[in-house]
Symmetry: D2
Subunit: 142 residues, 4 copies
């Protein structure tokens, strides 16, 4: 499967007094890229939640390498690093579109839950979903 | 009734590259001050919502007079300017605690709705709530 | 001059517990649409600031008519309603791309300042800029 | 040295459609707690920056254990886990004040830089600062 990365401009309200994007906003970008990635592999986040499946964050990490600035754009490549029906782990590389520099590498780990936030297993009951996640492990970017 | 104003420090993540608090964040402060004000007059926002009453924003306005900076605190005085059981209008004055300067004056107008966002009237059914809002029209600050 | 409106998806982190986009985020969208609009009429916000011209917000207003939800996109049409070299006033209509409903109408007023936030006049010194703003008063959307 | 933890209410605008605090906002809380912690150990963040010393984030991590909800407060305990004049590492435990539950454990690593974001060493030149950080490694909470 071949998809395009997530991209958008840096927002003015994302900068802070250091004149760079505040470090907290990369967590927003990772969330946005995750939603975009899932739509592109065939799993709409909103449809997932409409089916009563939530995907809360168990943990996340960010490594800050270079700063994004106002006037620039960001491009995010998202990869599944682990998926077993219970747990989903993702890796994100956030680049500055203009300079091509890697700005932030991040990870997030998720479990699947029902609407009451109790863990569930994606498998028989959500076999289509299961297939989408599996095939997305071998994603390539255009 | 005499209450204290809402106060907190300015957050680093609220500043932008102009080295001042980004104008969007004053809308956050107004929301925070509204929740704090309602708790102090006896109407917890969370209890209100637990009773199935929501208070969506119909409109708002902000007048920017002076900037808040990182390292400063803000103090917000909230006033009810109109209340008739259907509609609630509030005025906010956001000051810099350190300099005493008025930074932003704002207003917000709200209606009362049920959980499906249909307008309802606070009156017989929520008589205690009604009384709280009425008495809060003559609030004084300590 | 004919330009395209600003558009993007609604972010998960923009929703609140009412399951709609929190009212504060429309102020972000207006800022984003303003930056996008200025780029499209030929005035890069970042280039403007690089020339030492800032554009702080004097006041803003929002009228909330319908809610945006996660899974939807927004489309923003921005119009200059006043420009005289000292002051810039804008109007924004934020639509739900999918339903075509008008969600929020907003306005913002700005002055031009130097880096020390002292008011300046766009005119002889920034004649190109002046021409851009003038021609943008008769913008049409594709 | 004995200090108090950082505490504030959960903001409405921090919740998302899952009816819990959006995971990105814990990064804000960690930043706020860090600023508060440094003020309490004698190192004002704003004074630090006024001296030309910045403290950018190199990496961070969050482990999500329980959710914060609107209507609750948060209490953050911040600890220095490493300090050697070049690098500062912090650990944060974010609790729900009402239930006493640990909601998020986080870490952040920082270097010291000058205003041009070049790494510097806190030592002879900033000996007072150096002493503050050292003594803060044995902080206790009231």
């Amino acid at each position: 499967m071949r998809i395009t990365p997530y991209t958008r401009m840096v927002f003015y309200h994302e900068t802070d007094r250091m004149d760079i994007v505040n470090h907290s906003n990369y967590v927003h970008m990772m969330e946005e890229a995750r939603v975009d990635f899932m739509k592109k592999i065939g799993v709409g986040y909103d449809e997932l939640e409409a089916q009563g499946v939530l995907l809360p964050v168990l943990n996340l990490s960010c490594q800050y390498k270079n700063s994004l600035h106002f006037g620039e754009h960001l491009t995010v490549y998202t990869y599944i690093t682990k998926y077993n029906g219970f747990r989903l782990e993702l890796h994100y590389d956030i680049f500055c579109t203009e300079t091509g520099k890697l700005c932030v590498s991040g990870t997030s780990a998720h479990c699947f839950t029902n609407a009451e936030l109790r863990p569930i297993r994606i498998g028989e009951k959500f076999s289509e979903l299961h297939a989408f996640f599996h095939s997305a492990m071998e994603i390539e970017y255009l």
